[in-house]
């Protein structure tokens, strides 16, 4: 019961409602955690229930697969799950925050054994084992008189290969049983929902007894012979890119890169018998370029200048001006700072003063970086290794720290997962709890281990965070670690230690003292040189400009998620790196490639190119690209002629934060097609000050409607549209409400395609 509430106030029904209504307590999204928890348990089908249960279990399997694909194999393949179902809070990945509490309340005999019972049993056996160890050790000390026994973590980790159980003999037994592969019991005749994955099927289970998993590094190191090529190829619907793409490629001129992109697109159109759409009209393309590159619609004068330019060069000239022109430098930097801040820390993060991260601080840092055209590898180095304070104007301000602050939690697991996913396109959160995932290595055979996750996590062990109680300034800096080792617990209860090891298997100095080395600095250097970084950046920018990435989702490389255009992706990524990882180069190439010039209208020859129906995107037409809330705001701002240099960031953050959603899903907002979901209704989104200013302006209604059309659509209303809007305004008692509805209707129109945002990653 709620201990905070005194008895005399107690009215749980009303109290619960008040806490929710007044905004303190919000319902959680339990689905991912439940499905993950289910994935870790064998599913018992009661005798006689096979007929009715068969389809049920298949549905459940599908749901589990969808929730955490790396947890699932096929029905005949052992799930990489331990016998003891739920790991402790330290190593439980991705589930709801309170999952460990619920785990303790599991009841025995329901298929999921009660962790409470397990733990209690283990603890008793553990005590007995510890006593036994103590006696044996004492005898040993007496027998080997004078010989010292070092029980430091180093020694513990060094024994028996990579590591040794730290919890005694009980742990050893648990390990041997815990690592035993479990099988989902399937009723006769029930086929698993997913096709067999030869990579996983042929993978021997990790041997916890040896403490030395056979395949151990996240990015490609293997100690087992590779599978035959046919086995790996069969699992790939398309040719997956070799994920060890060549780095250090020859630098090609921009024209050659653009020609290479076009060739890759044409090859895919030819292979899939697609006829690309016509070239987009100049007006449509101009709006597209402004929205994509600057995040706002063009102004009247900009339309006019574009139309006045020579037809054959006007598009290239406009891209050149938008990307490299001094007059657009601030807007370009601000737009891309907003985009990357949303991508890296999510829209809801950092918008409230109670949070550690400062969105304004992060955007300010990114704005400055993009304005200076700083290379992406340098930016990534800084966001991983940064020290300083988070808020602009504070002493030793360094906005780069906000990346780690936004993903901070007590044990650094959030930062580890976010770093690998957002910067390298690898989803590791699931291996926080368990071994074995088929990795995206070219041999399709490499496994990821829980140890590898924690070795990566150890790089964040020196992070120390303080919040000044008076000024509320948050400071992130490296500090000496209390222990050099990072401890984690396997799902079977065995405790292990991990030290920082770079992906690929390169260990670094184990000392946790800052004077002996800054771990994050070492990691940052490695990430900045990784071939995954340019590929991830390219894919994200591609998705931003074209509506869909070359993989879906865009930050999950691997044979399970092959790219639609692997050669194209490899070429652009390697050229991006070869050109120095400058965002402006990449944006320029993509804005001038063939796919960006195509009309949104499908032709008879490319009706099959319909990613909005769940098909793979082939970019034979330009997909209606959703505008972003920031675009709506910035367009409105210039229409209201209230734009200020540098932006009203506080106002801006308040506006953008409104697009956060409840029921979980805090990060990585992604777009959904316009016809699936609409913007929240205006009564759920407060009016922005900019809109307010326009509504209050001393303009006649027709002029206000023209302004709204210009802001939302980048054009003036037609006569029919204007008449219709004026008719709506005619009898309105509260014209402001009608104008506000017109604004949101325009944003929701097919032409604009502003979409609801939600995070579903």
């Amino acid at each position: 019961m709620n201990p905070r509430m005194p008895d005399d106030d107690r009215d749980p029904v009303l109290d619960a409602c008040l806490e929710e209504v007044l905004g303190v307590v919000q319902p959680p999204d339990l689905a991912p955690g439940i499905l993950r928890a289910l994935a870790r348990h064998p599913i018992e089908i009661e005798p006689g229930a096979a007929e009715s249960g068969g389809l049920w279990i298949r549905s459940l399997g599908d749901a589990v697969d969808a929730a955490c694909p790396d947890l699932s194999g096929d029905g005949d393949v052992a799930w990489p799950a331990p016998a003891i179902p739920i790991a402790n809070g330290r190593s439980h990945a991705g589930g709801p925050a309170r999952s460990t509490e619920s785990d303790r309340m599991s009841a025995a005999g329901r298929g999921i054994p009660s962790p409470t019972t397990e733990r209690r049993t283990r603890s008793w056996v553990g005590y007995a084992a510890a006593l036994t160890v103590f006696v044996v050790a004492s005898v040993g000390i007496v027998a080997w008189h004078g010989r010292s026994w070092d029980a430091s973590p180093d020694r513990v980790a060094a024994g028996g290969g990579d590591s040794t159980e730290a919890s005694g003999g009980d742990g050893a037994r648990a390990g041997s049983s815990g690592a035993r592969p479990l099988r989902r019991r399937m009723p006769d005749g029930v086929r698993p929902a997913r096709a067999a994955d030869p990579n996983l099927a042929a993978t021997p289970p990790a041997d916890a007894d040896s403490g030395n998993p056979p395949l151990d590094t996240p990015f490609g190191k293997t100690t087992e012979p590779s599978l035959p090529a046919s086995a790996t190829a069969s699992s790939r619907p398309l040719d997956a890119p070799p994920l060890d793409a060549p780095s250090g490629s020859e630098v090609l001129p921009a024209e050659a890169v653009i020609a290479g992109i076009d060739a890759g697109l044409r090859e895919s159109w030819s292979r899939h018998a697609l006829v690309p759409s016509e070239r987009a009209s100049d007006d449509a393309w101009c709006r597209r370029a402004f929205v994509g590159l600057l995040g706002r619609t063009p102004k009247d004068a900009e339309w006019a200048a574009f139309r006045a330019a020579p037809p054959e060069t006007r598009r290239a000239a406009l891209v050149e001006r938008l990307v490299r022109g001094a007059e657009y430098a601030d807007e370009f930097a601000r737009h891309w700072a907003t985009f990357w801040a949303e991508s890296w820390i999510g829209r809801p993060s950092g918008a409230r003063s109670s949070e550690l991260a400062s969105r304004d601080g992060f955007e300010a840092y990114l704005r400055e970086a993009f304005a200076a055209d700083r290379p992406f590898d340098a930016i990534v180095r800084e966001v991983i290794a940064a020290n300083g304070t988070s808020s602009p104007g504070s002493p030793s301000f360094n906005g780069a720290v906000n990346f780690l602050l936004a993903h901070h939690n007590a044990d650094g697991t959030e930062a580890t997962s976010a770093m690998t996913r957002l910067l390298l396109g690898r989803r590791f959160q699931c291996i926080q709890c368990h071994d074995a995932k088929s990795d995206g290595s070219s041999d399709g055979r490499t496994l990821l281990t829980q140890r590898a996750f924690w070795e990566l996590n150890a790089f964040f062990g020196q992070i120390g965070i303080d919040r000044d109680p008076v000024s509320k300034v948050v400071r992130l800096e490296d500090r000496d670690m209390a222990s050099d080792a990072t401890f984690f617990e396997q799902s079977d209860g065995v405790k292990r230690v991990a030290y920082p090891v770079l992906p690929g298997g390169t260990p670094i100095a184990r000392s946790g003292r800052v004077a002996d080395g800054r771990r994050r600095e070492t990691l940052a250097q490695w990430v900045a040189r990784s071939d995954d970084l340019p590929r991830t950046v390219v894919n994200r920018v591609w998705a931003h400009l074209f509506g869909y990435g070359l993989t879906q989702p865009i930050d999950d490389w691997g044979p399970h998620n092959p790219a639609t255009h692997p050669e194209l992706l490899n070429m652009v990524s390697s050229q991006f790196a070869a050109h120095g990882s400058h965002l402006k180069d990449l944006v320029e190439w993509l804005a001038l490639c063939d796919a960006f010039q195509r009309s949104e209208e499908p032709s008879e020859g490319n009706l099959a190119d319909a990613p909005e129906r769940g098909e793979l995107p082939w970019f034979s037409r330009y997909y209606p690209k959703p505008a972003r809330p920031a675009t709506a705001l910035d367009s409105l701002r210039w229409v209201a002629e209230a734009r200020r240099r540098g932006g009203n960031q506080v106002d801006r953050s308040t506006f953008l934060a409104q697009f956060a959603v409840q029921m979980g899903r805090p990060h990585a907002a992604r777009l959904i097609p316009a016809d699936e979901r609409r913007l929240p209704q205006s009564d759920r989104v407060e009016h922005h000050a900019m809109l307010r200013r326009l509504l209050d302006a001393a303009l006649d209604p027709a002029e206000k409607i023209r302004h709204l059309h210009l802001a939302a659509l980048g054009r003036r209303p037609s006569k029919a549209e204007l008449d219709q809007c004026l008719a709506m305004l005619g009898d309105a008692r509260q014209p402001d409400i009608v104008l506000n509805d017109i604004w949101w209707a325009l944003l929701n129109s097919q032409e604009t395609g502003v979409l609801a945002y939600w995070s579903g990653e």
Binding site: E19, P27, L30, L35, L38, G53, W56, E101, A107
Partner: protein, 181 residues
């Protein structure tokens, strides 16, 4: 006498565990909160309930039946958890809370009750609303509330009790109205 027909057995073909969770998690979580569970406990018990239900073949007869079944499992889990924790909790109180919530939420997920409550907050005076916000939004102690409102602690307690009574009456009135309508 209305003839009771057994509900048709829906095909398990259409069963979607994810949909089951998404459809019912909100109502179940609010139900547990209304029984007096702290947020963390409600999270845990709701998750545990779905785990138990999904561990065996599940027939989704109807939304109402499923909701009732989930509530029953959750209720039993709560009582079991309280017993395990060694707490003496009067079951009558929990039953009373359950009856209250059933009256407020009916067969829904409680959204109507919350909507009614939002409307009812407008009938409170500014001091009472301020006191409740400090209590439920800012988690301030009664003494802090009293200090902020420049009254005694006893006065703050009375103020909040009266406000809550007013809110409860208002919500129940709105719910009765909508039921009558």
């Amino acid at each position: 006498m209305v003839e009771m027909k057994p509900a048709g057995l829906p095909s398990t073909m259409g069963f979607d565990p994810l949909k089951l969770i998404q459809d019912h998690q909100l109502g179940l979580w609010r139900y547990l909160r209304a029984l007096g569970c702290a947020r963390e406990v409600a999270d845990d018990l709701a998750q545990e309930t779905f785990l138990i239900v999904l561990q065996r073949p599940f027939q989704d007869y109807s939304e109402v039946a499923t909701r009732a079944y989930l509530r029953k499992v959750a209720y039993n889990l709560l009582v079991t958890q309280q017993r395990r924790a060694g707490r003496v909790v009067a079951v009558e109180n929990i039953e009373q809370y359950e009856r209250d919530w059933n009256r407020w939420a009916g067969d829904g997920d409680g959204e109507d009750a919350l909507r009614a409550l939002r409307g009812c907050l407008k009938v409170l005076g500014p001091r009472a609303l301020h006191a409740l916000k400090m209590r439920f939004e800012e988690r301030r102690s009664r003494q802090e509330i009293a200090d902020a409102l420049q009254m005694t602690e006893h006065g703050a307690k009375n103020l909040m009790q009266r406000a809550k009574k007013k809110l409860r009456d208002c919500v129940e009135g709105k719910i009765s109205e909508s039921a009558d309508a």
